[in-house]
Every structure is written in C-alpha cells, then in structure tokens.
Amino acid sequence: MILRLSALALMGTLLASTAFAGERGPPTAECPQGVLTLSLLKPLNNPPQPYTVKMWEERNKCMKLDISEVPFAQLADKIAVLAASGSPPDLVQYDGPYTQSYAAAGILLPLDQYFPPGLKEDITRPTLEEHSFEGKIYSPGTQQTSLALFYNADMLAPLGINPPHELDKVWTWAQAIDAMKKCQKGEGDNVSVWGLAPSRFGAGTPGFVYRDLLFVRSHGDPKAPEDSGLYKAYWGLSRDGRTATGWINSPESIEGAQFFSSMFNVHKITPKAGIPNAFQDRKACFTIDVSYFVSGLTNNNPGFKWGVTPLPYVRSPVVHTGSLTIGVFAKSKHPAEAAKFAIDVSTGEYAEEYIRRSRGIPVLKSLAAKLDEFKQYPLNIFVEQIDRYGHPRPPSPNFAQYDKIVTDALRDIAYGSDPKTRLDQAARQAQPILRRN
C-alpha cells in the first residue's frame, strides 16, 4: 500500500510537471471571462507556424496558445503517453494516417458538430477518407501530399529522354526503369550516378510504406472483382482495416514486391543504403519526392535544370496521400475553443497563407481553385494525381502497427529477401494485431 501510494505520489508529481490542460486567466476589461490558454503539442518545424498562431491570437484576443514541440520521430510515442495521462493538451498536430488509430482509442474528439456548413463538402476526397472513422470526421486537414518523379533534365537531355508532364501520358515503370538504366553511370561497386535516388523517407532505408508500398499497390486493380488478388493488391489491406492475410500477400502483391526487389537486386538502378541529397548532388538522375521538394529546389538552386513527371505505374496508377494535421484531444476541457482553433487555422486566410508559403497541396477544393500555382506545371501534377488516383495509406484502427510491419518487410525485400516468404510473414505478424479492438 505504501509502495503504491509512493508510486502514485511520484507519478502525480511527474505528470503535474508535464501537465498540458488549458487554463483560464483572471478576468480583464477586454476579456470578462479571462484569457483562455489552449495547449498545443506539435512536431518541431511543422505547422501551425508562428505567423499563423500570431495572426489567430490577434483576432481572438481572449485566447492564446501554449505550444510544446517534440521531434517528429518522438511524436507518436509522446501522444501515446499523454493519452494515458489525465492531462493531455487541448490540441495536437499529428500524422493524418493515424486518425483511425487515435479515433478508435478515444484519443481524438470528433469535430462534426463544430464544422461550419459546407466545410465537409469542400474537403478533397482522400483527405476526408483519411480523417474519418465510423462516419465521423476528426480533422479538417492542413495540407495534402503526394509523390511524383523528379528528374535531372541536364542529364536526360543528351540521352534524348523527355519525361511526360501530363497524367494522360504517364510512364509505366518499365519505361521509367529503361530511362534510369540509360542515365545511370557505372555499375557494381563503381556507380557514380544512380538511376534512382534512395528513399529519404522514414528511417532513410528502403521500404517506407508511404513511398514503397506504391510499387505493390500499382500491381493491383481497383476495378477488378473484390475477391480477386488484383483488387486486394491494390488496397493492400481489407477495406475495414482488419485483414492483411490474402491482401498484402496476394499473388499480385507478391508480384509487385518482386518488381520492387528487382530495382535493387536485378536492374540495380537504386542503392540499398541511403545517400543524403543524392539528387541535389547529381548522384542520381531521378528521385521520388513530394511537392515541398519543388520549393526546396526553387529556393536553393541545385545548379542544373530539373523537372517533374507523374509517378509511373504498372497496372494501375496510384499515389498515397496523407500529411500532418490538427486534431482536438477528447479529454480537452475546452473542446469548443480548441475545435475553433483547429478549424480556423485549417481554413480561410490562415490556410491560404500557409499553402502559399509552403507549397503544400491544399485540402480545400475552394483554395486549390483560387491558387493559380496549383493549376500550373509542376504543382498541377501533384494536385491532379491526388484528385484522380490519390488514396490514403491503407486505413485501419491499427494502421501504425501495419505500417511498421509492412515497412520492415519491404525493407528486407529490397535487401534481397524472398518476396513471398517475407510478405507471408508480414501478414502473419499483422493479422492478430489488426484483429484487436
């Protein structure tokens, strides 16, 4: 008993020192109910940016934000710990694909009742799909992302290679690999310029679901019969997010994984280990990246001409969506005020200002229509891909676990593991976890 009390006292002290709950200050002439401080947890160097917060506080004199930041890699762990505590923050900027996990665990507050009329209809389909769970919406979304293929035009021009800029003329992966092979300089241990840059996503190793599951999904077909391997390969996980067996390891999924493996082990057009800034340093002819990369290349001229072409496909074109987004903790003592902040900074002038600066893809159709930049090359490629064939990473209340298991499997396949054996293992590992409530 004494031990328990001591432990509780200590834990109480520790939790009190990291308490996040919003506080209301003493009444003032301008704010008769006192100034309310909302607490927000967000990853470092990510939205909402200081200019957004400043603008919002100026317009809402009786509310202000108390922001805590953690490195992105620690965000999910921090949210899990705070969810278990009695005093989580009011607001959290989290990774969109985790919406279902957090909603199923009761961590996030559904925001339907706080949405102004017309907002839900204004949100693009993949974002709405990603941020919803059991018919309720948990975040409006700050921005959207998709991947495209960037190329070094100076390296390709002498070879007579001109990648398409239109979705209707999108390359197949066979065409892309042919171009990558022609552009690559050296082979075996002596490659000076790779066809395709290594992945910079996740841990910097191959396999990250956001990028590399697309090689598998593209071997599927969403129009095929629902019990076919083609259909299951395209979705990667049953539509209710509860079954991996037969989906991630369907024959067509295995075929996709074999193709993914061949890029490293047969064609050898991309390295297994990371090379920082391979594309910018002219150590790779092509790289797969998001729309922010356009900003990076525009603002920091790499010293060569570059271009963007839609992401190649095998049977079906597909890109993953998903980005950081803002939600309200279900345990917030000020849900209405927190929801107001989440919705305000995701819409109107706040969203417009952020999108103009970041070149992230708008989640609101009205905003995308307003900004000419997203109707023109190269950013139009990202917007059109999302609109035509963008999908969230396979939604599930246990997405985080699926993500980890499949990422590890694809990493091993890139390193040379047998695709069938490794995907069967991934399905076996994921299945009992996906079945949990």
């Binding site: 710990v81 190793t205 280990a273």
Partner: protein
C-alpha cells in the same frame, strides 16, 4: 543499549538506509511487479481502459511465435560471438600491456577509449564506417581489390558486423580486467618457471591461464550480461533487420511495446528473458565458485 538508544539506533539506520530502500522498491521491485502483472493482460498504451485479462496467453504466444524465438536465438548467438572473440583478443592485448614493450601507454589509451564512449555514438559511427557506398571499411576493401560488403543489408553479414562493433567497444574493459589479474600473479612463479626452462608459451599455458581463471570467469559473466542487454546497435545500425537477424530481445521488447502496441506481450517476453538471464548468471556464478574452490 537501552530502549531509547535502540530507537535512535534504528532511526539512524532508517535515515541512512530508508531512502535507498524506498528508491529500490519504487524503481526496481515495483516495476518488476507491474511487469509480471501486465504480462497477464492484453492492452494498448493508446487506451489503457481496454485491458483484457488473458492469463498465460502471452507466454504461449512467445513459444508459438517464430519471431520471438528468433529474437532469443540471435541474442544468444550475439552473446556467444562477443564472448568468444573478446576473451582471446583482450587477453592477448593484456599480455602485451603487461610486458615491457614500447608504446604501452598509447595502446592502453586507444584500447580503453571506446569503453567510455556512448554505445549510441559508436553505433552511429559504425553506420558511417559500414556504409556500402562511402564507408571507410568498404573503401579499404576496395583499395586492396576485394568486393564491397553489405554489412547492414545482408542477412549473413549483419550479425557479425554488430558483433565486431561490440567487440571493438568492449575489448578495452576486458583488457583492463585481465591486466589487473596479470599484475596480481606473483613474479617469483614465472621466474621459477623460467629457471626450469619453460618457454613463454608454456608459462602462459601452465601458469598464467590457470591463475587467471577467476578473472576469466568474471570477464565471461560481465561480457555475457553486457551482450544480452544489447539494444542500441539494433536501433541505430540495423533496425533489427535484415529478416530479424539483429532483432535482439531488448529491441524486440521495445518494438512490441511501443510500435506494435502490445505491452502485455512485451512484458511477458521481459519476464521470460529475465528468468533466462538469471539462470545463466546462476550457472556462471556456480562455475565461478567451483573454480574458486579448485584454486
């Protein structure tokens, strides 16, 4: 001692020992109790309210799951690899340092320096050293005409690569222990052997090694425990891969609890691992006692 003195005596004892006992109970025994209890439940850290009693189901899952068995296997292979490499290497260096050969001070510093360096720093450093494209090790191999190795992407090379890293780090500590043992051997014994015509190798075989048995067993125990606790190389260098060949138990527990949201299973693995490590330690202590008796 009268009653008041006894009270003061025990009060003083309580003041000195009490804080330590409370801390010990709070941070050692209470977590062990919690771990034992959690191992009987299935739950997620995201929602502690959904906690389901499953009895010994988590323990059955360990036996049935080849991934858990593999984690135990690679951890023990790692420990064996480290111990059988560190012992002869550190013993040889200690012999060198115990002699009157040149540059002893520099060699001693160089050998011991990795011991005081963080494992995370060392693992990060080896990530660069082992890099297949620009790593120093592969550049050296290339210079002498050998094929580049895929240290952390090849399932046959990853574990030996991590063992080599750990050996590099731990050799200094084992060397210091052996050196202190060597310096404790009476000089006259070696002198007598020399007079009797023993060669240097015979002196090592018949005098040094038997007299260093206690030190050797101590080094084996320490290196085994260090090796079984291995975590950072998997986190920083290999991510537990490829194909789980560096998925050490401590890393597996971390992955199960925080990434796969199965803290109940992670607790069960911890309990089993604790029992196994305890058994190994007891066996080694028994061996130590036998050797002590023989000595």
């Amino acid at each position: 001692m009268n009653t008041i003195e006894k009270i003061w005596h025990w009060a003083a004892v309580g003041c000195f020992v009490g804080p330590f006992l409370i801390m010990l109970a709070l941070f050692q025994y209470f977590p062990v109790y919690e771990m034992l209890r959690d191992s009987l439940y299935d739950f997620s850290l995201l929602n502690l309210a959904k906690r389901q009693f499953v009895g010994l189901e988590n323990y059955r899952a360990i036996i049935d799951d080849p991934d858990r068995i593999q984690a135990f296997y690679v951890t023990f292979m790692f420990a064996v690899g480290v111990v059988v490499t560190v012992i002869p290497v550190s013993f040889s260096i200690a012999l060198y340092l115990n002699g009157r050969l040149p540059m002893r001070a520099i060699v001693r510093t160089v050998v011991f320096l990795p011991v005081v360096t963080s494992v995370v720093v060392i693992a990060t450093m080896f990530t660069f050293l082992y890099d297949p494209n620009n790593g120093l090790v592969n550049s050296a191999l290339g210079t002498i005409g050998l094929t580049r190795l895929q240290f952390h992407t090849n399932k046959h090379q990853a574990l030996p690569a991590v063992i080599a890293m750990m050996v590099w780090q731990q050799t200094g500590f084992a060397t210091v222990l052996f050196l202190s043992g060597l310096q404790g051997i009476p000089k006259d014994l070696e002198d007598a052997a020399r007079v009797d015509g023993c060669s240097p190798l015979q002196r090592i075989r018949f005098i040094v090694i038997p007299l260093l048995m206690r030190t050797t067993v101590f080094v084996v125990v320490i290196m085994t425990v260090f090796s079984l606790q291995v975590f950072a190389p998997a986190l920083v260098l290999t991510g537990g891969g490829p194909e789980g060949t560096t998925n050490f138990v401590a890393y597996d527990i971390y992955q199960l609890a925080f990434y796969l949201q199965m803290p109940g299973l992670a607790s069960a693995v911890s309990v089993v691992f604790m029992a196994v490590v305890l058994a190994i330690s007891l066996i080694q202590m028994r061996v130590l006692r036998v050797k002590e008796t023989q000595a």
